[in-house]
Subunit: 451 residues, 2 copies
């Protein structure tokens, strides 16, 4: 037979079983946390009509998109979860209750240049809250508490949710008479972390044609740091000069006011005036989240407030606020840096039942009894030598092997072997289930390590 | 602004939030049950190299496939989960422990003619057990117990797992000197349920060029019915004439021998000699599952034993056994027929916290307290009138609204309103959590109704 060499396309993550279990754990924490805040799970098609997907499209998006014909249809794979959400909300507007809260953890597709750590197929884990006409600032205030719960759920403490408000930035640029350049300026300021203040200043003067004074004003402004109160106090000094600025400051105060009630410690939150988010559609609060010991990863959870979700599809003002976690990239980086906790079980089963008799019936019944107690149990079905059976248990990484030979059957018991310690004891099926359960419960720990 | 009419492509299922929750419940039951039997979750790319995906390809597959160019790459979307599994096992052969058990619940793509109830994007929920060189018959015997657990998990009792063995059929056809026509004959016999015995006979004689006697022998053979013992007793009458037949009968006996130990009642299992499965690659046990009160749906879970999973990619014999559930189609049919239990909660939250004061802090803290007890809680953030708030709670379908006004705050309590009964009571946050939890636990019931 002529054979084709198997391969997986570059830029597509395909994990071995143990790694996949770690990935699933992270996805489960996201699902659970998003659900805890009343977000409904959503699942939209991977393929959409290309005209609809690209309604808003820019040249950059078009280049990356997977677009193709099928029959007469012009089709494309979704490149994010926001455009499909906009379509969904516009299409089902009459059937939804607003504010509409949904989460979606799904794959998106971008045909980027192949590069280590860049993915062409990757998971995004998004939440959005969409209002019908209006959406209260309290929604923007709630988002940091959800981000906080997610990263605490992953087991982290050393992370910071950074918040800014686009109205503050827009208002400030208006004071300097730089409104028309504000987009350009924000995109430049956004690079501060990467290129430093001096280069930002140079670009502002040379590329954006600002005066030295204007550039200095901007750098002075974004250099405002300190506790939430200190930053807000400093910002109070700019009030009364621009309405948009004042509104933005009021919003920022509303977002920071209830942090304690939301259970977000000050240590995990900072007002950061350098954050603008590159995208032009954000209009209010913007969020970024960084791992304090790994700033090189960049923001692991970003988003913000926008005023017009679906104007391309429906004649209704639909403001919203949302965040997105690039789950595939986050997982990749954590794995590369050895930050995934290797202590957590990744085996497909809690126990492997090994029949030691020709008649499999007692082992089958034992496996069923252990499953009835909620354990994930694999019945080993092959007729191999004892050594090969144990070697399989080892390779699979199961925490327990449960052996059933003539002696155990005669006693109505089974032998339970802890694969890590090597300890082995004879007990009933019920005792075995309790023993294994107890041992599994004792292995608790974070999915992500801090080091 | 010029608007584009939003739409979802025909043949692509996109559910409203309540329906999506029902779908998620079914998917969760599948994940949990598959995990209980030691299957590892797997996630392979949606896009694969077209050459690899079509290594085995037939004309029919090629016509349906979504295939396109991106740059120099010839790409295609997976049309099932078996070919990607074959690629995965061949590619990662050295890193896997065999038998390798995996489940995958993922979308696949087939550009079929648009038709009501036919989907171009749909979920398959597959399990497979892959052996390295050999795979014991006990694996085939275990499969019905997993199917049984899945459909019991859905809440069903009136279903039947039908089992046959291709070796019995092949051996029988060899006895009649019809080996070369066995594929053709089986595809015809497979239609028995749909077209009846007479038409099958006509096709066998006219199209397959069998003699009347041969056709009668075949119809007599596949008419063997009764309890497992009766069918097996009848089959014993054919032994000693063909080795393959005898081997198949021995396998069938091994599969039926341990049903009781596996916990599968006789009522949910039947040996059915008419089942062949259309696909040529099955070589041993084959499975179909029907809902007894809804035979018109056809098989809802099918599969079988095969001897060569990945011969197109690797020079290793990799036998396996697997089953597949067409989840999207099953969900669609159940929904169409009104068989999804409407009593189960489908709201995105267990409780909606409604602040009745200007200061949101007490309501935020209350919502957090309820979440800490594991409840899914949405904080209502909009400043609306009471009536509008209650109308939102209604539309969302939340089972409980939790109201917090000045009076409740003064007492350190909250008002809990059961949205179904209208009952309302004042209690502490802890009492509220217990009250809501108890009420939710009392609503138990199957996902699928039998009627």
């Amino acid at each position: 037979m002529e054979r084709i060499k198997p391969r997986t396309l570059s830029g597509f993550m395909e994990l071995l079983p143990a790694k996949q279990q770690q990935f699933e754990k992270m996805a489960q924490i996201l699902r659970d946390t998003y659900s805890l805040y009343g977000f409904a799970p959503l699942d939209t098609p991977v393929i959409e009509d290309a005209q609809i997907l690209l309604a808003k499209g820019s040249g950059e998006t078009e280049k990356q998109i997977y677009r193709f014909q099928k029959g007469d249809s012009d089709l494309a794979l979704r490149f994010d979860l926001t455009v499909p959400l906009a379509k969904y909300v516009a299409l089902h507007y009459n059937d939804l209750a607003f504010p509409f809260r949904r989460f979606q953890i799904s794959k998106v597709y971008r045909g980027e240049r192949a590069q280590r750590g860049r993915f062409r197929e990757f998971y995004q884990a998004d939440i959005d809250i969409i209002g019908d006409g209006k959406l209260d600032i309290l929604n923007e205030a709630e988002i940091p508490s959800i981000i906080y719960k997610v990263f605490r759920g992953f087991g982290l403490t050393r992370f910071q949710i950074r918040v800014n408000n686009r109205k503050i930035l827009n208002g400030f640029y208006a004071m300097l008479g730089l409104s028309e350049k504000s987009g350009e300026i924000m995109r430049t300021v956004d690079k501060l972390d990467k290129i430093g203040a001096e280069k930002v200043s140079t670009i502002l003067v040379e590329d954006c044609a600002l005066t030295q004074e204007q550039a200095q004003e901007i750098l002075k402004f974004i250099a405002i740091t300190g506790s939430n109160e200190q930053v807000i106090a400093a910002l109070e000094g700019y009030t009364g000069r621009n309405e948009v600025f004042d509104l933005g400051l009021a919003e920022l105060k509303a977002v920071t006011a209830n942090l304690a009630a939301f259970g977000v410690p000050e240590a995990n939150f900072a007002v950061d005036l350098t954050i603008a988010r590159g995208l032009d559609y954000y209009t209010g609060t913007v969020y970024e989240t960084t791992l304090l010991d790994h700033p090189e990863i960049g923001s692991v959870c970003s988003g913000g407030r926008y005023d017009d979700l679906a104007g391309y599809y429906i004649d209704k003002p639909l403001p919203g606020v949302g965040i997105s976690i690039g789950l595939t990239r986050l997982f990749y980086v954590l794995e590369e840096q050895g930050l995934l906790n290797p202590e957590l079980p990744t085996a497909p089963a809690d126990a492997l039942v090994l029949p030691m008799t020709t008649d499999a019936a007692p082992s089958i019944a034992l496996a069923e009894a252990l499953r009835a107690e909620g354990l994930r149990v694999q019945l080993y079905c092959e007729q191999k030598k004892f050594k090969q059976k144990m070697s399989y248990a080892d390779k699979l990484g199961v925490p327990f092997a449960v052996l059933l030979g003539e002696d155990e059957i005669a006693q109505g018991k089974c032998s339970v072997k802890n694969m890590r310690t090597g300890e082995q004891a004879v007990m009933t099926a019920q005792e075995a289930a309790a023993h294994i359960r107890q041992s599994l419960n004792s292995v608790s720990g974070a999915v992500i390590l801090e080091k």
